[in-house]
Symmetry: C2
Subunit: 185 residues, 2 copies
């Protein structure tokens, strides 16, 4: 099973915090912080869904729980009044992004967000680059091909490359703004 | 400390599930399900924020964790493209709603959502009635009075009463729509 990324973070933090500078989720969280502090957007990572089995109510400590599979995307929030939701995916293949990275109910969720006039996308980390890949492009790809993965050249051509910035982490807001402008056209 | 409501639910469920028919959170979750199934809105309860201390990676079981204090509201989602976020509060006093039910960072968050053009409110369960109380009215009350609680007559006059419906639970979408119409005016 895939480790929920923020657990991995909790788990790694004490050991390799320094190395996490290049971790996609870390860089997106830095950007979210920057956007909130500078009042540009309000975007948060959702807490990892947890099923709680046992709680010690004397000290409110959780003694037993398990990870639930997310049916939505990891981040959501608001930009210029619009609803925004996205997921961050690190891709280790240099040639293509495996669609198995996205659950079917997440695909359905992306479709719903778009139907309701929201902004949905993936941020894909691949070949040391970062791309905002629109939900619409993802759905079209799935609809129009039988392929199990998205070739890198499609991600590069359809996606918007996001710049790394030491102050902001991965600055994805400009990418959102492009989707926003298309949406309000 | 206040028990996170969905934990309380996990805890109670096996014992008093039947009684939970009147539980505010349960009735709101029913409405959310109805709205998603009928493609009217996409609103979810956020997972309770948990700090994970210890995980058994052999079976991915969480052995030790604690509840974090939420800095946002419990529910968020999308309605007609707009960002929506709200919290559900059951009030046991018949005369007034204590503001200590809402943390300062939640107030700040409500302010931010409104600044960014979103829809933020509370659903208050009080005197066996349910009211949608707008974030704007909450912020105005806090700004203009020194009172530590909102009198019931203000909740009744400013708030929109929400109807209970056996199919939908507490039908709050009409209330959201009124806020939405004001927003796009």
């Amino acid at each position: 099973m895939k480790y929920p990324s923020n657990i991995k973070k909790n788990y790694k933090k004490p050991i390799t915090y320094g190395n996490r500078g290049m971790d996609l989720e870390f860089l997106i969280n830095e950007a979210c912080k920057y956007y909130i502090e500078n009042n540009l957007a309000i975007i948060y990572k959702k807490p990892t869904p947890i099923g709680i089995v046992e709680v010690d109510y004397n000290n409110m400590e959780i003694k037993k729980a398990y990870f639930k599979e997310p049916s939505t995307l990891d981040y959501n929030g608001i930009y210029k009044g619009k609803y925004v939701e996205f997921d961050a995916k690190e891709c280790h293949s240099k040639t293509s992004f495996p669609l198995q990275n996205i659950h079917d109910h997440q695909i359905k969720h992306i479709k719903n967000i778009i139907v309701h006039g929201g902004i949905a996308f993936l941020i894909i980390g691949m070949n040391e680059k970062y791309f905002l890949f629109k939900g619409e492009d993802l759905l079209n790809f799935i609809k129009n091909t039988a392929r199990k993965s998205i070739p890198y050249n499609i991600i590069k051509s359809k996606g918007q490359e996001l710049k790394f910035n030491y102050l902001k982490g991965i600055d994805f807001l400009e990418g959102i703004n492009i989707v926003y402008e298309e949406l309000i056209k």
